[in-house]
C-alpha cells in the first residue's frame, strides 16, 4: 500500500449556518489523478482549500504530503502547486515576469523558459496577463503551479469558462503533468472531464461523499446496459432474431435503417459483429454508447448535475 499523499478524515467546514463540507474522508495515493466532482456548491472548493491551507477546517484531520496544512504550511507550500478558482494576476504583469516571480518563491524552481515552451506560451512571454485569452490564462496558471517542481498539484475548476476546444487542449496538458509523475487533485463539475482525466473520482453532493471509485467502476456499478447502434441496408427478421438470441443481449430495437442493440457492457459487441459478419450483412455508422458519470450522479442523487442547486 503506497503512502497516502493526501489523507482526510472527517473533514467538516461550515460558513455560518451553511454546512459546506460535512464529514468527508478520503485518501489520495502517489501519482494518482484524483477528481472531486459534484455540482456547484457541493463543497469541492472548500475541501481543496482546506488541503491547501487557505481554510481552517472546523473538524477533522487533514494531512497533505504528511504535513498539517495549518501548522506546517510553509513546508507544505514548498512542495505543492496550485491553480485557484477565481484567482487573477495583476492585469499588467507579463507572462515572463509572472513566471520569474513565482519561480523566485521556491528553493528549487524549474527553468521557467522551458516550462513556458512546453505549455506553448513562449511567444506570449511579453504579453500582459490582462491581454491573454481564457485558455492562455489557464495554461499560465498550470505553468505557475508547476514552476516550483511540486510533488502535488491542485487544479480547482481548471477548465470552467473555456470553450470545448480549449478544454480538450487543457486536458492534454493535465495528462502531461500526470506523466511527469505528479500527484494531482482536481475539482470539476464536468463529469466528462472527471471521466477522461481521473484515476479515481469522489462524487460529493451537499458536502457529503456519495461515491468514490474509479470512473469505470462507478459506471459499472450502475449495471447499466451498453447500447450498440448501427445502420444496415437491408435487415431481415432473421438477423434481428439472431441478435436477440445472443446471451449477452437483452433487447433489440429497430428504427428505420437503424438497429439498436441493448446488452451487457463490454461483452456484447463481439458477438454482435460475429452475427453480422456471419450473415454477410453490410453495416455502417456503428457506435457504442455507455452509461457515463452523469448517469451515475443521476442515479445516486436523483438529480441531473446541471439541475443541482447552486
Amino acid at each position: 500500500m503506497p503512502v497516502a499523499v493526501v489523507s482526510v478524515v472527517g473533514l467538516r467546514k461550515t460558513y455560518g449556518s451553511t454546512v459546506a463540507v460535512d464529514g468527508v474522508s478520503f485518501e489520495v495515493g502517489a501519482g494518482e489523478v484524483f477528481g472531486i466532482v459534484g455540482p456547484n456548491g457541493a463543497g469541492k472548493t472548500t475541501t481543496v482549500e482546506c488541503l491547501e491551507g487557505l481554510r481552517v477546517p472546523d473538524e477533522g484531520v487533514v494531512r497533505v504530503l504528511g504535513l498539517d496544512p495549518q501548522r506546517q504550511g510553509d513546508a507544505l507550500r514548498e512542495r505543492m502547486g496550485a491553480q485557484l478558482q477565481e484567482s487573477a494576476l495583476p492585469a499588467r504583469i507579463r507572462v515572463g515576469e509572472a513566471m520569474a516571480l513565482f519561480a523566485s518563491f521556491y528553493s528549487r524552481p524549474l527553468p521557467h523558459g522551458a516550462l513556458l515552451d512546453e505549455l506553448g506560451l513562449t511567444d506570449r512571454d511579453r504579453v500582459a496577463w490582462g491581454a491573454l485569452s481564457g485558455g492562455q490564462r489557464q495554461r499560465l496558471a498550470i505553468a505557475l503551479a508547476l514552476v516550483g517542481d511540486p510533488d502535488l498539484i491542485f487544479f480547482d475548476e481548471l477548465t470552467s469558462g473555456l470553450d470545448p476546444q480549449a478544454r480538450h487542449a487543457t486536458w492534454d496538458l493535465v495528462r502531461g503533468v500526470r506523466d511527469r509523475g505528479k500527484t494531482i487533485v482536481l475539482t470539476t463539475h464536468f463529469m466528462e472531464e472527471a471521466e477522461r482525466l481521473c484515476d479515481r473520482v469522489m462524487i460529493i453532493d451537499q458536502g457529503r461523499v456519495v461515491a468514490l471509485d474509479a470512473p469505470a467502476n462507478l459506471v459499472r456499478s450502475l449495471g447499466a446496459e451498453q447500447r450498440v447502434t448501427f445502420t444496415v441496408e437491408t435487415a431481415d427478421d432473421d438477423i434481428l432474431a439472431a441478435l436477440r438470441a445472443l446471451a449477452t443481449v437483452t433487447r433489440v430495437e429497430r428504427s428505420g435503417d437503424a438497429i439498436i442493440v441493448h446488452g451487457e457492457p463490454d461483452r456484447s459487441l463481439a458477438p454482435i459483429l460475429e452475427v453480422l459478419n456471419g450473415a454477410g450483412v453490410a453495416f455502417h455508422d456503428l457506435h457504442t454508447e455507455q452509461a457515463s458519470l452523469e448517469d451515475v450522479f443521476l442515479a445516486l442523487t436523483g438529480r441531473q448535475i446541471r439541475d443541482a442547486p447552486p
Binding site: 510553509d74 485557484l84 487573477a88 499588467r92 516571480l101 523566485s104 518563491f105 521556491y106 528553493s107 516550483g148
Partner: protein
Amino acid sequence: MTTLTQTNRGLVPLMVVQMKLFLREPVATFFTIAFAPLLLLLFGAIYGNEPQEVFGGRGSMDVTVPGYIGIVIVTVAMIGIPIQTATNRELGVLRRYRVTPLRPLTYLIADVAAYFLMTLTGTVLLIVVGAVAFGTRPVGSIPAVLAGFTISALSFFALGYLLASLAPTARVAQTVGMVLAYPMMFLSGASLPLELLPPGLRHVTDFIPLTYVVKLLRGLWFDAPWASLRLDVIVLSAILIIATALSARFFRWQ
C-alpha cells in the same frame, strides 16, 4: 540562517515587479511622480519665490517644497496603497501568493519597499525641480530630511494598509482614501502653507495627521533642531505603531 533565506526569498523580485506594475499605471505614476513638481511649477510661475514677511523672510516656493513632499506621501499612502492592496485582494492575487512559499511578511516588506522607493522618486524629482526652477534648497542636512521623510512615509503607509484592511472592497478603499486625502492636503499646510490659513482654521490642523508630516519636514528642511520637533516625531511614531498593529490584526488575504 535557513529561516532568514526563506523569509527573504522572493523579496527583491516581488519588489521589482511591484514597482514595474506601479509605473505601468499611468494615473498612479502621474500623481506620485509628476503631480507635485507640476503644481510647484504652476504656483511658482504665479507667486515667484521672493522673500516674504509672512514666511519669515523666506520665499513662497521655499516653504512650498517641503510641504509638497507631504502631498506625495499622502497620495501614495492614502490612495495608491489602499486601492492597489484592496484590488489585489479582490482579484485573488493575494490568495494566489498565499499558496506559494512566499511569506506574508515578505510580501508586505516588498510592497512597502516598492511604495517607499516610488514616493522617494517623486520627492527627489520635486526637490530637483524646485532647485532648478526656483533655487530652493534644504537649509538642514539631507540625512535629517531623509530621516523625517522615512518616518513620515512609513507612518502614513501604515494608515494606508489599515484602510485597505478595513475597506470591504477596492471601491470603498478608493472613495474613503480620497475623502481622507484631499481635505488633509489643504488643512495640513501641505498644499497651502499654514501661515496662509485663517486663524480659526489653524486649530483644525492640529487634528490632521498630515500636519505633523508637514511640520516635521519643514522643520528639518530649515534646520530646526530635532528637540523642537519632538511632538511631530511622537505623533507620527504613534500613528506608525498603532496603525501597524491594527493592520496586522485586520489585514485580510482573501
